[in-house]
């Protein structure tokens, strides 16, 4: 049954290691291409970092944005703007299609403007105060991507920036759902943005032993659910959706990709970085997403997994899926191809989930050669699988024990 407060998705935008837009990224996923390559930045050599690979953007933002706009934005803000403009245009919105008092923007990030912080600190150390940019704070603040996108579309119903590490992008979509369901906004531009492939995050993640060091085979390094996985590959990018109240979208004749039918958020209360091996927190998020969507576990044909290619995390997630949904859903893990986009991951993978429903095809999990026997679930590998889906769930989890699950259904 459709109600007026159902939440539909009318526009998609992304810039990822696989492509500068949604269509290119989706085609590359289905074609089994990898976005991971050798990281040739000078600091890798200088600090002799153990990780020499990364999932860098396929299209550099400075090739897309006007020069002056690019220099005023941190890279995380640049990717947010690019993806947001694509989504806005894709949704068929213009300056007068929605009352700005009814338009909100929610863009999350995990790290925010780390590159700006490091660059400006270098300038301060080398040249003193005069050379520090007056734009430093608006460039490094984690609400920067949201704030700039909000200004772009003159949103006045609220601009928010959830920060929940690698769940941030999915949490933004969850907040968007809530704002529409509670009547706070008619249209919400929401998603995640991340661009922090720089020395400190790589050094820090390396010291935490969370990243793959398969440096000699970059395109094979990210391998969720595979027995040979040894950590995630750091990526960068952004994913943005335009979400609308169903009757609002219908009234303006918008095309609809599908519905964000329900959302679930929870926290583990377990450990700052390790997932609860019993998957109870994650399972509660998934169950809440199904409950708010009015779905039965048997309706869910597919889970787009968070699985980052770490030894512990991937298996914990499958425990949660079995608990909350059962053994029947078909899984995949886009990070095999995309790498881990941290705060953008949930939003980009939400887009992938929605396109899987629309096109009836689940992209393969890249590099899944030998399924970890502990997984005990059906994971798409080798080639895309054609499946008609009535409902699919997208998981996103973050350091801190943040869990988000999104339930999508067809248009």
């Amino acid at each position: 049954m459709t109600t007026n407060h159902d939440v539909v998705v009318t526009g998609l935008g992304a810039t990822t290691p696989l492509g500068g837009d949604v269509a290119t990224t989706w085609d590359a996923l289905l074609a089994g291409r990898s976005g991971v390559s050798t990281n040739n930045m000078d600091w890798v050599e200088r600090f002799d970092l153990p990780v020499r690979i990364a999932a860098q953007l396929a299209v550099d933002p400075t090739e897309v944005l006007p020069r002056v706009e690019a220099r005023r934005l941190d890279r995380s803000e640049q990717v947010a703007m690019i993806a947001a403009r694509e989504a806005w245009k894709d949704a068929g919105h213009s300056d007068d299609t929605v009352d700005k008092d009814r338009l909100a923007v929610i863009v999350g990030t995990g790290i925010g403007g780390a590159m700006t912080l490091l660059n400006q600190d270098d300038l301060l150390e080398e040249h003193g105060l005069r050379k520090v940019s007056p734009l430093t704070v608006p460039m490094l603040m984690p609400n920067g991507p949201a704030a700039h996108v909000g200004l772009e579309f003159k949103a006045r119903a609220g601009v928010h920036a959830p920060v929940s590490a690698c769940a941030s992008g999915a949490e933004a979509l969850a907040w968007a759902w809530r704002m529409i369901r509670t009547g706070e906004a008619d249209v919400v531009v929401a998603g995640g943005a991340e661009a922090c492939i720089c020395a400190i995050p790589v050094a820090g993640f390396s010291q935490a032993r969370t990243m793959s060091t398969r440096n000699d085979e970059p395109e094979k390094a990210s391998r969720p659910f595979d027995t040979g996985r040894d950590g995630f590959v750091l990526g960068e990018g952004a994913g943005i959706m335009v979400l609308e109240r169903a009757d609002f979208a219908a009234a303006r004749g918008a095309k609809v990709y599908g519905r964000l039918a329900g959302i679930g958020t929870s926290s583990d209360g377990y450990h700052i970085t390790a997932p609860d091996p019993e998957g109870t927190g994650q399972a509660r998020a998934i169950s809440a997403a199904l409950r708010t969507a009015g779905l039965d576990p048997s309706d869910v044909g597919h889970v787009n997994c968070h699985a980052t290619s770490t030894p512990v995390g991937d298996v914990a997630e499958t425990v949660a899926i079995r608990k909350a949904i059962g053994d029947h859903p078909v899984l995949n893990a886009p990070k095999g191809a995309l790498g881990h986009l941290l705060g953008a991951a949930g939003a980009v993978e939400g887009i992938v989930t929605l396109l899987s429903i629309r096109d009836g095809v689940i992209p393969q999990t890249l590099n899944l050669d030998n399924l970890d026997p502990a997984v005990e679930l059906d994971v798409v590998a080798g080639e895309p699988r054609k499946v008609k889906l009535e409902a699919a769930v997208n998981d996103a989890f973050g350091f801190g024990g943040h869990n988000v699950a999104l339930a999508f259904t067809p248009a």
Binding site: P66, R67, R130, P138
Partner: protein, 79 residues
């Protein structure tokens, strides 16, 4: 350095920082009202002008430089 040279140098800075075409940076233009330059960009422009022309532009002086002409006159008087 002639006023014309200062204006030309200033116009290059304004173009670099704010994306305003150098040809539009003429003496009668107001930085804020005509060239749409915000207070953050004005700080960047002032720092670059200090380096380029070897002058000091203290904050209380910067606040008085409303037009391109004001800035040219100030820099010429200090250079």
């Amino acid at each position: 350095m002639s006023n014309e040279d200062i204006q030309k140098g200033l116009a290059e800075i304004v173009e670099e920082v704010a994306g305003v075409a150098a040809d539009d940076v003429t003496v009668e233009k107001s930085f804020v009202d005509d060239l749409d330059i915000d207070s953050l960009s004005m700080v960047e422009i002032a720092v670059q002008a200090e380096d380029k022309f070897g002058v000091k532009i203290p904050d209380d002086e910067l606040a008085n430089l409303k037009t391109v002409g004001d800035a040219v006159t100030y820099i010429a008087s200090k250079a």
